[in-house]
């Protein structure tokens, strides 16, 4: 049986190399987390409950994720200059609000995606970018904004995500008043006595929070949350299946420097003012060009998952695209995927074939999210 050995082999080989650890590393080991290398960090892919149970538990109750590997940074100076590298409306971001943005290359393709917050009464912006891309992103932003705005990396900080329908009940016990915070809002508050930046966001499609902490406070806060009967620790495996069901992109898979925001179906992340001004990299091409391919949701009709890299064919056999994320959706109890297809085949309901192990398996282009978002607006 191929895969079992190679998977374990990889873990053992890389463990001897220098992998970074988050402030919760010892806690992951104590909880029985299966640690794997991910984006240069040693991270739990799952705990003893396993990916399936962790996924379903998050949708039913509440799950605690360690996402401290992601890049946290503060931007000071003329922060509106961030608009040089993103089509998001930064100047118009109101105090106490968080926003999703794309980081663009000079050509207007997608270099990364990030969350940006304007905390009440603070001049600096708070950003969170992806783990694997954070070093490159900060060098790029630093270079583009040189002389106008400066970045302060806080890779030493921890970031926890508490996600699921009971997340609000749980967090309210440790941060009284936090339930008043609504979707995409952000505030400085205390959790279990520790100072934190808390936003009502996440990447599972569920209601929930992301909690940024000083590294030294992370374990104490995580333990306090895990002591609540509703909460289980959740690994990166379930984080991936949850975000896929929620139709959310994973950078480096569902978008990269070969795609622009129109192809990636992320035009909604471009601010209205920015669309009118067309003042971001690649604006003309992104807004006026007809994209040749588009990111779509895909529902395989059988039980077989179609993994990343699976070719997508039209019914006449011609290859029209490729799966960029695919697997099994535990909440749907069915396989789900997303990928890019030629625009003529991107309409919901279009019948296609997925070429899995040499067989053409029927699938349908489908609206996303696959599982309804439960945000508290």
């Amino acid at each position: 049986m191929e895969g079992v050995d190679s998977c374990i082999g990889t873990v053992m080989t890389v463990a001897s190399e220098l992998l970074r650890r988050t402030p919760l590393h010892a806690l992951h080991l104590e909880l029985g987390g299966k640690m794997v290398p991910f984006a240069g960090y040693e991270m739990p892919v799952h705990y003893p409950a396993g990916i399936l149970k962790e996924h379903l538990h998050t949708r039913a109750k509440a799950g605690l994720f360690d996402v401290s590997h992601m890049g946290q940074v503060f931007l000071s100076g003329d922060t509106a200059r961030l608009e040089k590298v993103t089509p998001a409306d930064i100047a118009g971001l109101k105090e106490g609000m968080q926003r999703y943005g794309l980081l663009l290359t000079e050509a207007g393709t997608i270099k990364d995606d990030f969350m940006v917050s304007r905390l009440a009464g603070e001049a600096d912006l708070y950003l969170v970018v992806n783990a694997a891309t954070k070093q490159g992103d900060f060098a790029y932003i630093g270079e583009k904004l040189k002389g106008a705005a400066a970045l302060t990396q806080r890779f030493d900080r921890a970031l926890l995500a508490l996600q699921g329908p009971m997340a609000v009940t749980v967090l309210e016990r440790h941060s009284p008043g936090i339930s008043a915070l609504t979707f995409m809002k952000v505030v400085r508050a205390h959790v279990a006595g520790a100072p934190a930046i808390i936003s009502r966001t996440g990447y599972t499609g569920e209601d929930g929070f992301e909690i940024s902490l000083e590294g030294a406070d992370a374990e104490q806060v995580a333990r306090a949350l895990l002591e609540e009967s509703e909460v289980l620790p959740i690994g990166l495996g379930a984080r991936d299946s949850l975000r896929l069901e929620a139709g959310l992109c994973l950078y480096g898979h569902d978008m990269d420097e070969t795609r622009n925001p129109a192809e990636a179906n992320l035009l909604w992340s471009i601010g209205k003012r920015r669309k009118e001004a067309k003042d971001f990299p690649g604006a003309i091409q992104t807004l006026n060009g007809a994209p040749g391919v588009k990111r779509v949701g895909i529902r395989p009709q059988g039980r077989a998952p179609a993994r990343e890299g699976t070719e997508i064919a039209a019914k006449d056999g011609r290859i029209i695209g490729q799966v960029t994320s695919g697997g099994f959706g535990p909440s749907l109890n069915a396989p789900v995927a997303m990928g890019y297809v030629e625009t003529a085949f991107a309409a919901d309901g279009t019948a296609v074939d997925l070429l899995v192990r040499g067989k053409a398996l029927p699938a349908v282009i489908s609206p996303m999210p696959f599982v309804r978002h439960s945000y508290r607006r």
């Binding site: 049986m1 895969g3 050995d5 998977c7 399936l52 495996g237 099994f328 535990p330």
Partner: protein
């Protein structure tokens, strides 16, 4: 009396008279995690030792199942198509994948016995 042998790819094969039953080991099932899909070989298909005979997929990954020895597939465990979780619940019992007749029993005899396999797993 049946005899059980193991491969270094973590399949088990149990020989009862002329017919052998094949599945994946407890170690393999635990390493894979929650199984969500299996692809089984068709009855009558001939396989060679080490040849592809099926696929098992967990939430995260797909793995090939190899025939531990050459021969002909007689039955596949179609119950796994509806309930792939049987592979995790009882990998060396109800979670079997297929039955086959062997072309050459010597191929079976060359495989690891349970003591050798237990020792092999300890080295991983």
């Amino acid at each position: 009396m049946s005899e059980v042998r193991y491969t270094d790819q973590h399949e088990w094969i149990r020989l009862d008279g002329e017919e052998a039953t094949v599945g994946i080991t407890k170690y393999a099932a635990e390493s894979l995690g929650d199984v969500v899909f299996v692809e089984l070989p068709a009855s009558g298909k001939t396989v060679s030792a080490g040849g592809e005979a099926g696929v098992v997929e967990s939430v995260k990954a797909a793995s090939d199942i190899y025939a531990p020895a050459g021969g002909t597939i007689t039955t596949a465990n179609s119950a796994l198509e509806k309930e792939p979780s049987k592979v995790n619940e009882d990998p060396e019992g109800a979670g079997w994948f297929f039955k086959m007749t062997l072309a050459d029993k010597a191929e079976f005899n060359k495989l690891m016995d349970s003591a050798a396999y237990a020792k092999f797993v300890k080295t991983l």
